[in-house]
């Protein structure tokens, strides 16, 4: 019994904990499963940083807790009297700098990639309202489609009068639909106060600022439904304006566009007849 068995025990339990975290698609302990190149980069860099932090943590606190255990007055340990060492101080200034450069290099590449919103396949404008999102398809397949997207969770659920569903507070009446594998540029603005458009699985978060235009982009790897929320405090119902992106295969998307456009054509003609 000694330090060896303690280390073995700690290693085994850490490994068990770590693998239990990785199991399951919707991880409770980590980012959601990445669905775009950028989200994947973010995920990988976060894991890398966690390992670096863990190593530093064990190094620093290994020394400190060894000292706490051994260098005690109650054990009769006599205090040394050293109080500086230029060599040591230079070493522990330079090494962190090198570690930081190692961290900054991949991050810089990702920042540059995230900022590159040029030559998109399609462009969608998202407008933040208190408290819903409006979408206008500005360019690419589906150009001209326009709708609002509101929370569809019934009020009774958050007033605790009905049981809460699986997508409680993360469901909307009209989803933003995009095709898989296409570069989608999202232009953001807001009507009243600042909102933020955030879809974690796609690695996109961008503030929507009233009176100004910001942009971001994503290319979804797989068809599916990806959910996010407004990420900038925007008043009373800030917690009640989710974002739901539905990524479709190219054919399904074409059908969806056709359905939307005929529906809006019907609406327009009805509008004309009523006049």
């Amino acid at each position: 019994m000694g330090s060896k068995s303690v280390i073995t025990w700690a290693g085994v339990s850490a490994f068990t904990l770590y693998s239990s975290m990785a199991v399951g698609q919707q991880s409770k302990y980590n980012f959601p499963e990445p669905q775009s190149v950028i989200a994947q980069d973010i995920y990988d860099q976060h894991i890398m940083l966690m390992w670096i932090c863990l190593v530093i943590f064990i190094g620093v606190f290994g020394v400190m807790f060894y000292s706490i255990l051994k260098h005690r007055k109650s054990l009769g340990y006599k205090a040394a009297n050293f109080h500086h060492s230029t060599a040591v101080e230079i070493v522990w200034t330079v090494i962190p700098c090198l570690i930081l450069i190692f961290m900054a290099y991949p991050a810089t590449k990702t920042v540059i990639a995230m900022k590159d919103t040029s030559s998109p396949d399609m462009t969608i404008k998202a407008t933040g309202y208190q408290w819903m999102w409006g979408y206008d398809y500005l360019q690419g397949e589906g150009e001209g489609i326009s709708f609002f997207s509101k929370l569809s969770t019934p009020r009774a659920q958050y007033e605790n009068k009905e049981p809460k569903g699986e997508h409680y507070l993360l469901e909307v009446d009209n989803r933003v639909v995009v095709p898989v594998g296409k570069k989608v540029r999202v232009i953001l603005t807001a009507n009243d106060v600042i909102h933020a458009w955030w879809v974690p699985a796609l690695g996109v978060k961008q503030d929507a600022i009233p009176g100004f235009i910001r942009d971001s982009w994503f290319t979804a790897d797989k068809a599916g439904i990806y959910r996010g929320q407004c990420a900038e405090l925007c008043g009373k119902d800030h917690g009640f304006m989710p974002i739901v992106v539905e990524v479709m295969e190219a054919d399904d998307y074409t059908q969806w566009v056709a359905a939307q456009q005929s529906a809006s054509a019907v609406k327009t003609s009805m509008h004309v007849e009523n006049k």
Partner: protein
């Protein structure tokens, strides 16, 4: 200054008694005491608001606080804790300890000192009473970004006025501290012989003088936008809401270090005392503190990575922010080296100081992670950020304040606190703090935004754990109140030098408790 005070000898017993003693006092010890009690009161009020927040988040659905009131709670919790609890507490420490540690008889501007304290209850009352005006308290977050804060009611105006008053108080307090430290040190105490606590406060005070006027400016602009037809932050009138964020965070980021540098100072006093060994790398500690302060002024936009910025801007603020890890690391390494081969004992102040280092480092790690722009894009405005800044502000600033209180209580009161209860206070705080905030990292990573009153069921387990932790942490602080009161009233008499490893002037040259007027003749420092 000391000579002038020497002439006034004999006036010691002429101060008024009862309530007027406290209203009219110019004594740095009385004022320090009032600062500490004021900040503890605000800490309890801010803590009450935190309990409300965690009670609402205990389970999914809206139960206790309607969304509008929930937003008021989060906003006022932040404002009260930052401006009412943490900052005044450190100024209280400065009032008590700076004169004692540099061998000065009092603060340089004793009457201004009284004024800078008595502004605080006014501002605190404004903040608390704003809950009861039509429309309720400010609800736009403690960062009160426009245009949302332009929408609010009278509560926002009360908040703006309170921030003005708090700012004036802080600036006066800082000028006082700077003047005292630069002019009233005992003969022989050169700058590079000052205790670390005094150094960190000198640097902090300069930061305060630099950034508090910026805060005053930005809230004034908000006020004129709200009432006098200007459009600083309104795009329709030619303004820019993002400009508010730039100005606010130019104050706001140094503010973070205003709340942590004095904490570094307190810990740098306590670790050597209980390791019975001089502080390792004193001069590198001073340089590290100064570099953190300087760097803190050029990193503000890392709070705004999602607001939209040129690529070069994001990269600059990322690199500058990461650089802060270097001097911060130096400090942690120095503390570790101070403990190394010391002869340590673990009384309550030492426990809180070690707890501080341990948890502050975790907060530092998540700080580096937040500095990386791509990762920050994911975690910005989520519970990850909440976890990060509570690790540096609660287990950072607050734990160091507890450490300092236990360390100096014998000097202040002449009595010892109950060591057993002190240790209970530490271990319970440690346990419940981590229970509350560690799981919030997971909530943030999994996608829970901050400042929401209700959440999807996938976040339910950790929110419940976090709320239970928060209730425990809140109750534990009542134990602290009990320990302090029983120490003052019925604590055992403190020995003349309760900490055998202490080397600063207040322990080597003054009895316990410190007399009402100390160092009327300055000590000679070799």
């Amino acid at each position: 200054m000391a000579a002038v005070h020497g002439d006034a000898h004999g006036h010691d017993d002429h101060h008024p008694s009862g309530i007027m003693r406290w209203v009219t006092t110019t004594n740095h010890k009385d004022i320090g005491t009032m600062y500490l009690w004021f900040s503890f009161t605000m800490f309890l009020i801010g803590g009450f608001l935190a309990m409300g927040i965690r009670a609402e988040l205990y389970q999914p659905g809206i139960q206790i606080l309607q969304p509008e009131l929930f937003n008021q709670f989060t906003t006022l919790h932040g404002l009260i804790m930052v401006f009412g609890a943490i900052m005044p507490a450190f100024v209280g420490f400065a009032n008590w300890q700076v004169p004692l540690m540099i061998g000065a008889p009092d603060m340089a501007f004793a009457r201004m000192n009284n004024w800078s304290f008595w502004l605080l209850p006014v501002a605190g009352t404004l903040l608390v009473s704003s809950f009861f005006v039509p429309g309720g308290a400010a609800a736009g977050g403690w960062t009160f970004y426009p245009p949302l804060s332009t929408q609010g009611g009278l509560g926002v105006d009360l908040m703006i006025f309170a921030v003005h008053i708090l700012g004036a108080s802080s600036i006066m307090g800082s000028i006082n501290i700077i003047t005292t430290i630069l002019n009233m040190r005992a003969p022989g105490m050169t700058l590079m012989k000052m205790p670390m606590f005094v150094w960190t406060w000198l640097i902090t005070a300069y930061l305060l003088v630099l950034v508090m006027p910026v805060l005053a400016g930005v809230v004034t602009m908000l006020l004129t936008d709200r009432h006098f037809g200007t459009s600083f932050f309104n795009a329709a009138g030619g303004g820019d809401p993002v400009m508010f964020q730039h100005i606010f965070w130019f104050f706001g980021h140094p503010e973070v270090y205003i709340m942590i540098l004095p904490a570094f100072g307190i810990v740098s006093e306590i670790i050597p005392t209980f390791a019975r060994k001089p502080l390792f790398g004193y001069s590198s500690m001073v340089y590290a503190t100064a570099s953190i302060a300087i760097l803190s002024c050029v990193v503000w936009a890392h709070h705004m990575f999602t607001a939209g910025m040129p690529t070069v801007g994001q990269l600059f603020f990322m690199y500058a922010t990461m650089l802060i890890a270097v001097p911060t690391g130096v400090k942690v390494f120095n503390w570790t080296a101070t403990m190394w081969r010391g002869s340590m004992t673990f009384e309550t102040p030492m426990l809180f100081a070690i707890g501080f280092i341990f948890l502050f480092v975790i907060g530092g790690f998540s700080g580096v992670i937040c500095a990386i722009v791509p990762i920050d894009i994911q975690v910005q405005d989520t519970y990850y950020v909440i976890a990060h800044f509570h690790y540096v502000l609660v287990s950072g600033a607050l734990f160091s304040l507890f450490a300092g209180v236990y360390y100096w209580l014998p000097k202040w009161t002449g009595n010892m606190y109950n060591e057993t209860l002190g240790k209970w206070h530490f271990w319970l705080s440690m346990f419940f703090f981590n229970l509350t905030f560690f799981v919030q990292h997971f909530l943030g990573l999994a996608g829970m935004p901050r400042r929401i009153p209700d959440y999807n069921l996938q976040f339910a387990d950790f929110n419940m754990v976090s709320s239970i932790g928060a209730f425990g942490f809140g109750l534990t602080q009542l134990l602290f109140l009990y320990i302090v009161i029983s120490c003052i009233r019925s604590g055992e008499k403190s020995p003349e030098k309760p900490w055998d490893g202490a080397t600063t002037l207040e322990w080597t040259h003054l009895p316990c408790p410190a007399p009402y007027h100390s160092f009327e003749k300055p000590p000679i420092v070799k």
